[in-house]
């Protein structure tokens, strides 16, 4: 029984030492693999541009701490307000955008032809959907918000493209597909 006290003391010292030096903290005690460690979400992203463009900055934290299952209830009104007041568009555009972008998830119809993959192709053309790195989502979003993609009414042609059509580097055709970093 006397022997049991020594390991306990050593463990306490180890914990103390680990706690005092983050870099050398034992990951089995403090890292993500620590038993029962619970993680709280601080950021999430599904569709491009939803939080960044359509929601006012003061609502971004609200979005980041939420889940898709409450998106329609929480953000439908805010998204439609933006489309109405900032983009000046009619109800058709407002409601189409909120219906397509919320719940905020990238929708993929995996039973459709791979050649139809592209952001929102599931909504526009019953295609595969998803999002490819080469998709110009800025232009797609701007065309819907400010251009004539969804309605001809009150479009703003000079806002319907940012005139940057492609990445500065080519994407690969083999895993991992993204281009090598600039060193």
């Amino acid at each position: 029984m006397r022997n049991h006290r020594v390991p306990g003391a050593l463990l306490a010292l180890a914990l103390l030492a680990a706690g005092c030096s983050d870099e050398r903290a034992d990951p089995s005690i403090f890292g993500p693999e620590a038993p029962n460690r619970t993680f709280t979400q601080i950021e999430r992203l599904g569709n491009p541009l939803v939080s960044e463009v359509l929601l006012e900055k003061r609502n971004h934290g609200f979005h980041n701490n939420g889940t898709p299952s409450t998106d329609v209830a929480n953000f439908k009104g805010l998204v439609e307000l933006f489309v109405r007041d900032v983009a000046g568009r009619n109800q058709t555009v407002q409601q189409t955008l909120s219906a397509v972008l919320l719940p905020d998830m990238l929708i993929v119809q995996t039973n459709k032809a791979a050649s139809t993959a592209g952001w929102l192709s599931w909504a526009l053309a019953d295609g595969y959907g998803g999002r490819k790195p080469s998709d110009d989502v800025v232009d797609a979003g701007l065309a819907a918000l400010f251009g004539t993609l969804l309605s001809p009414d009150n479009a703003s042609p000079r806002l319907s493209s940012d005139n940057v059509a492609a990445n500065d580097k080519q994407f690969g055709t083999a895993f991992p597909y993204l281009a090598a970093p600039t060193q």
Binding site: P32, R37, T40, Q41, E52, T110, S161, D168, L178
Partner: protein, 236 residues
């Protein structure tokens, strides 16, 4: 504040060097550093999520990019945060609740760190508070290299060119509310009511820390339908 004082002397076209203060690096991607908390800790920021068909029939690729912008000068020391849980979540039965998750964790805080992937597995909990699945990792290894696993799962965790492209400078002139609070783009610019032509890709020569997984599509539709909803999360 000291930061705004210094900004007057920074060349407006240069990205603020992270040497100024490690915390002022701006995160871009389609979701740019969108709250003050995330601005101060760029490694907690998701830039973009991509999902597209894989290299063979019935394979699918999921990508989550994080921590951009990482300049070439910052790249040698770039590493994922070992205190965070990175996840890709998949709804496959149309109720906008995750049915399967891919969980990425890291061991070590510098580029010699190792990555572990668990999943796709049923989440232990749904929603915003999650624990690690008790399932054994399906793939693990060093970052910055392609890792293969027996189930036809390929994993890459590491530095890549940031695939996003946008005339960000002009965008923030048009909608100034969305500007980050710190850094080169935080300065108020003359407002604009239109994009310029040609536009300038603000993210050229910028890197990101990317998680890339290619796997059989069947592993994501399992127990559900062929229609998926995918999103990425970062938790701590």
């Amino acid at each position: 504040m000291t930061a705004s004082f210094l900004r007057r002397y920074v060349v407006s076209t240069a990205l603020v060097a992270s040497a100024l203060a490690g915390v002022t690096a701006i995160a871009y991607g389609s979701d740019h550093q969108d709250t003050p908390e995330v601005e101060l800790s760029p490694r907690m920021d998701i830039n973009d999520v991509y999902v597209f068909p894989g290299s063979g029939a019935d394979r699918i690729v999921l990508v989550m990019t994080t921590s951009s912008p990482i300049t070439p000068g910052q790249s040698a020391s770039a590493a994922f945060d070992p205190n965070l849980l990175y996840q890709l979540k998949v709804d496959n039965n149309g109720d906008a609740v995750e049915d399967l998750v891919l969980q990425f964790t890291f061991d070590g805080a510098d580029p010699s760190q190792r990555v572990k992937l668990r999943g796709p597995v049923k989440p232990v909990q749904v929603g915003t508070r999650n624990t690690l699945s008790s399932a054994a990792p399906v793939a693990s290894g060093a970052i910055n290299q392609a890792i293969a696993s027996g189930q036809g799962i390929q994993l890459f965790a590491g530095l890549r060119d940031d695939p996003f492209f946008i005339d960000l400078e002009q965008f923030f002139r048009i909608i100034p509310d969305r500007r980050p609070a710190t850094g080169a783009l935080a300065q108020a610019q003359p407002p604009a009511s239109a994009f310029r032509n040609p536009g300038t890709d603000f993210l050229r020569n910028i890197n990101t820390l990317a998680l890339v997984v290619e796997l059989p599509t069947a592993l994501l539709t399992a127990g559900g339908t062929s229609r998926l909803g995918v999103w990425g999360t970062i938790s701590r």
